[in-house]
Amino acid sequence: MSIHHDLSTLYLAQSDGWINFDVAGLVDQFWANTVDGLSQGSIYALVALGYTLVYGVLKLINFAHSEVFIYGAYATWFTFYGLGFRPGPTVELAVFELIGFLLLALVAAAAVSGTTALVLERVAYRPLRKRGAPRLVFLITAIGASFVLQQLIFIWRGGNPEQAIRLLRPEPVFEIFGVSVTNITITIVVASIVLFFVADTFVNRTRFGRGIRAVAQDPDTATLMGVNKERVIMLTFLIGGLLAGAAALFYMMKIPQGAAYQGGFLLGIKAFTAAVLGGIGNLRGALLGGLLLGLMENYGQSLFGGEWRDVVAFALLILILMFRPTGILGESLGKARV
């Protein structure tokens, strides 16, 4: 009985100070959290690009994009598995082997995610567009498609996450402000930023990108000027899917237990938040929003405690939208630049 008594006082003690402001913790772990926040934020940013591109062109929030991402994570896992790796301790590989295997996984993940995005567009959205369905219907379909894709994995692989297969163990490469930065963090951040610039250049500098921007600004006029709208839409989904596939590989390098049927859901919502935060429809906004969200989540957890992780992310979103309703950088894909 005495234990029960102790418990109730403990509950009380907790409810007295249900938010703690651990400022010392925030300061002490600032740089560690910054480094980790940037790597998580880079993954958010890559996924956020997919949300932002599709929104820019179709004014559609593609909620099933989180499943496009998780299909890439499964593709990564199965590539590793197919190469003969099994769950257990991390294997030692020669550098060129490692790069080869990771590149193969990158190609597989990008291909699977890209294909998933295209099929999704073909099956879930195009028929509605042909019939001129109102915008709300697309939104419901997106959520429905998300569940269908999720449950397909559930039926196939069950509820347990795939057992971790890891090819590269994180090793510190250099120190910055007393915090060691690992090879995995460097890979993720550098590759994500490079991929972002590739995507940004593609949309802003190439002929295909011009088509995307034209359809985003004024679909009817773009069609009149000879832009094939359907092809542009497919291309947009494909780019978003390829980037999500790359993000999935990076995510699996960071968190080898990541291939779970519901594993994309929360990450997708966070990436969507990042897209809105930076200004949805704006590629640079997605990058900024992703990195910012990754950082703030970590700082927030240090300051308020781990259970506030998700609250911090969404509170930040609300706060920024109150002052900048179109996000930090505003919508740009749909705005003509003169």
């Binding site: 234990i3 418990l7 509820g159 890891r166 090879n183 991929l195 190439t206 790359a246 237990q257 992780r309």
Partner: protein, 406 residues
């Protein structure tokens, strides 16, 4: 043309970044010395008078009599549920093989282990009149959400693994717990961590489940001032970097994780990757092969506490279990699931044909099982309970010691 250039640039960029990451120096982490190990306790032998579902072989009952299992089968933390379900199946098969005139059917209900799904599933179950007894609701959260539905329907519910202490305080007359609750696991774990492992500072990390919160409170109050740090994580969280950084800053001897294996696997791995050398200790919700596979390099040397009895000496049960589960060894709570199903089968064999009779039988039951002696008090708690510790050795979970309460 531009498409080609785009593709090439993508491959180049990825290659460059991978090279950069992979070329880093490999430093072998020097194996940290573990504190000296207490000798392994021997697993309990099977009691000669352990209840046997086969009975005398002459039982008769109505055709269509059903028992049910409810809990996670493929959902969240599925392995924990499958361990129990297979244990139940072993008991039912043994009963039916030996009693030609009493064929009991087992119906399975999938709750996915989620508190918001369980009430609907349980309602469906209580409305199936042929079901007169249930082994189930393995998790505390779902048990809390659905316990009242069993109570109102008068359907007896034997839980093989829900350990939140508060569950027996709701006045439910149909709730029976087949193991000690977390008011025994918490103090036992505290005793093990500070005694056997010799930790002076412990970080208690909990998830946001009913089970995690209850267990964390129990061990924190037992550790008293040795619980120098407390952290919270979320169900389905995968990136634990902020919590890991905080624990690194707290510089503790041991970490106790109150939660389930799905989050514990990446968490343990990220702790180990960050160079945290504190001893990782998990409870029954983490003690599964899925954790060992999921945590990769970090699993070796992890300890578990569990109010479950090692099945090593239950040879007959182990063989039957392997036949039922494609060769897998019994897991956490498999023998408990078997024991509880056996009690319900005994009830049916003794002539209980409806829910009220079976409930009465369980209330008055007293007998030895594989794992322990079963006799419940008014609240549905057992008098005797045992807590064991386990350890990961060479990629397998092996028994360690039995924690004897003071």
């Amino acid at each position: 043309m531009s498409r080609n250039r785009f593709g090439r640039a993508l491959v180049l960029a990825a290659t460059a970044s991978l090279v950069l990451g992979a070329c880093s120096a490999r430093t072998d982490d020097s194996g940290s010395e573990q504190p000296s190990q207490p000798p392994q306790d021997s697993a309990p032998a099977q009691a000669a008078n352990a209840a046997d579902p086969a009975g005398d072989g002459n039982a008769t009952c109505d055709a269509g009599t059903k028992l049910a299992y409810a809990g996670t089968i493929n959902g969240q933390n599925a392995a924990l549920g499958q361990n129990i379900l297979n244990g139940v199946k072993v008991a039912i098969k043994r009963h039916n093989d030996n009693n030609a005139n009493c064929q009991v059917e087992l119906q399975e209900f999938e709750t996915e282990g989620q508190p918001d799904r369980a009430p609907g599933i349980v309602t469906q179950m209580v409305n199936t009149q042929e079901i007169i007894g249930v082994v189930g609701l393995p998790f505390s959260g779902e048990s809390k959400a659905a316990g009242n539905i069993f109570n109102e329907a008068g359907l007896v519910q034997l839980t093989p693994s829900a350990t939140n202490p508060g569950l027996s305080e709701n006045g439910w007359t149909t709730f029976f717990r087949g193991l000690g609750n977390d008011n025994s696991q918490g103090p036992a774990a505290a005793e093990f961590i500070t005694g056997d492992l010799g930790a002076q500072t412990v970080c208690v990390v909990r998830d946001d489940s009913e089970y995690g919160i209850g267990l964390a409170n129990s061990i924190t109050s037992s550790l008293a001032d040795k619980a120098t740090c407390q952290q919270e994580v979320k169900t389905r969280q995968t990136d634990f970097s902020a919590v890991v950084n905080s624990i690194k800053g707290a510089n503790v001897d041991a970490i106790f994780y109150a939660g389930y294996y799905q989050e514990a696997s990446p968490f343990a791995q990220q702790l180990s990757d960050a160079g945290v050398e504190a001893q990782f200790v998990g409870p029954d919700g983490v003690k599964d092969d899925e954790f060992v596979k999921g945590a990769g390099d970090a699993a070796e040397g992890v300890y578990f506490t569990c109010p479950c009895v090692p099945a090593d000496q239950f040879t007959e049960f182990t063989n039957a279990y392997k036949a039922e589960s494609n060769g897998r060894d019994p897991g956490t709570y498999s023998p408990e699931g078997y024991d509880l199903a056996t009690i319900l089968l005994k009830g049916i064999d003794s002539g209980a044909q409806d829910r009220a009779a079976l409930l009465d039988f369980v209330k008055g039951y007293e007998g030895q099982g594989l794992t322990k002696n079963f006799k419940w008090d008014d609240k549905g708690e057992l008098a005797a309970s045992t807590v064991w510790t386990y350890k990961v050795e060479s990629g397998k979970i092996v028994r360690n010691t039995e924690i004897k309460p003071d």
